[in-house]
């Protein structure tokens, strides 16, 4: 029995043209038994950063609160909102603190990073393993029980420079088709597309089996 597969669930993030998307399934299971079909694993950090926390469900809740606390402390001390790259390192050090007794979560971060010189916003995604080793990808990052399926479909469907609506379609199709081949993920999905001036959040119907 693997702790990483105890509750099931998957998350994916993708880069588009001046936008990013992050999506997850909604299943919460106790091994093969589905317990809930409305368990969200993606949480807003700032108004242009989201974090996905697939893995052990108890740690999803714990880490969400720990990150909320640490981001609030950063905001107060620095008197400014945190940038995605800074937040990624905050996540990394929070996880590495528990190097020899880790949280069983592989976080995915998606956001828009402000360039301090020009003020422009650019897409930023990152993934990490359960002890905080960061992976800065240019295209997409995946995690969870359907990660290998997500890799296969994303590698086939993703292309550079997708506009928000096309990115939404690409990430939705990738997630839906991947989780349909995974017994531990599925039962609907949620997608967030983060653009310059708004965040588009949509709940998707999926196969209920």
């Amino acid at each position: 029995m693997s702790i990483m597969e105890y509750n099931g669930g998957s998350v994916i993030a993708m880069v588009g043209k001046d936008c990013v998307a992050i999506a997850s399934d909604l299943r919460l299971g106790n091994q093969a038994l589905t317990v809930a079909t409305n368990f969200e694993k993606i949480f807003p950090v700032t108004d242009r950063i989201y974090i996905g926390l697939p893995g052990l469900a108890t740690d999803v809740t714990t880490l969400r609160e720990r990150f909320r606390y640490r981001v609030n402390m950063y905001t107060i001390k620095e008197s400014r909102t945190i940038e995605p790259s800074t937040f990624a390192h905050l996540v990394s050090s929070t996880l590495y603190e528990r190097r020899f007794g880790p949280y069983f979560i592989e976080p995915i971060i998606a956001g828009l990073e402000r360039n301090p010189a020009t003020g422009e916003l650019s897409p930023y995604i990152a993934g990490a393993d359960l002890i905080g080793c960061l992976n800065f990808a240019k295209d997409f990052v995946v995690a969870g029980t359907a990660s290998d399926k997500l890799f296969g479909v994303a590698e086939g469907l993703w292309e550079p420079g997708l506009e928000p609506e096309d990115l939404f379609e690409t990430i939705s199709q990738t997630l839906l088709n991947a989780v349909d081949r995974d017994a531990y993920s599925g039962w609907g999905a949620i997608v967030h597309v983060i653009t310059k001036d708004k965040v588009i959040s949509r709940t998707l119907k999926g196969r209920m089996d």
């Binding site: 399926k149 890799f151 296969g152 590698e155 469907l157 199709q173 088709n177 081949r181």
Partner: protein, 250 residues
Amino acid sequence: MPGTPSIQRPTQHQFNPYSDNGGTILAIAGADFSIIAGDTRQSEGYNIQTRYAPKVFRLTDRAVLAVNGFAADGNMFVKKVKQRLEWYRHAHAKDMPLRAIARLIQTMLYAQRFFPYYVYNILGGIEEDGSGAVYSFDPVGSYERETCRAAGAAQSLVQPFLDNQVYFKNQVPPPGRAHPTHLPLRDVLDIVIDAFTSATERHIEVGDGLEMYIVLAKGRTLQGVEAAQEISARTDGERVFVLRRDLKKD
């Protein structure tokens, strides 16, 4: 440790007759054709044994078999299937029909139920009614006719992609229209190449080369699929062609 009696157990040795040689195979059936493909890398653990070891074999002019898993078992299995097909030819003066080859493969695999051939088989070709067909097997002979199937190391990467692109899963057709039941040859070839380049990108056991066998129903032509090498014995019935592509070698 002093004071504790030391328990000496005899050293045990174990021989493991199986290994996993990686690679991936894939087959898609069209209305009047069938494509059976496989990469050519053969590996054991992190070592590449060879960059060219075929996993796809022509059995007859209307049947092609792809074999993936333990290469030694796979090669021996193909050898024995070919031998049985030759005996059939001598006895009946014709090639065995595809559905009969599928059932033969089942009995041959199940005959080894308690010491199985460690291989996943995918059989592709043309049925007696002229339709394209794909049969997939597990190592002990359980089988099914399908439109498309991936197997091997990157099955988990490729199969959901095929669900989406061949079966149009999770896609809604335009109002008043339906998804096509079979795709044209050119589209299927593009899907196969995309599937393998994707798998090569993300799976270390997939790469080096790609071999695509195209089986055409009687009377059908290649229609614009250039550079396919013909390997059929006769040109007046079903015909078999091979298309080769390079895949990344890293």
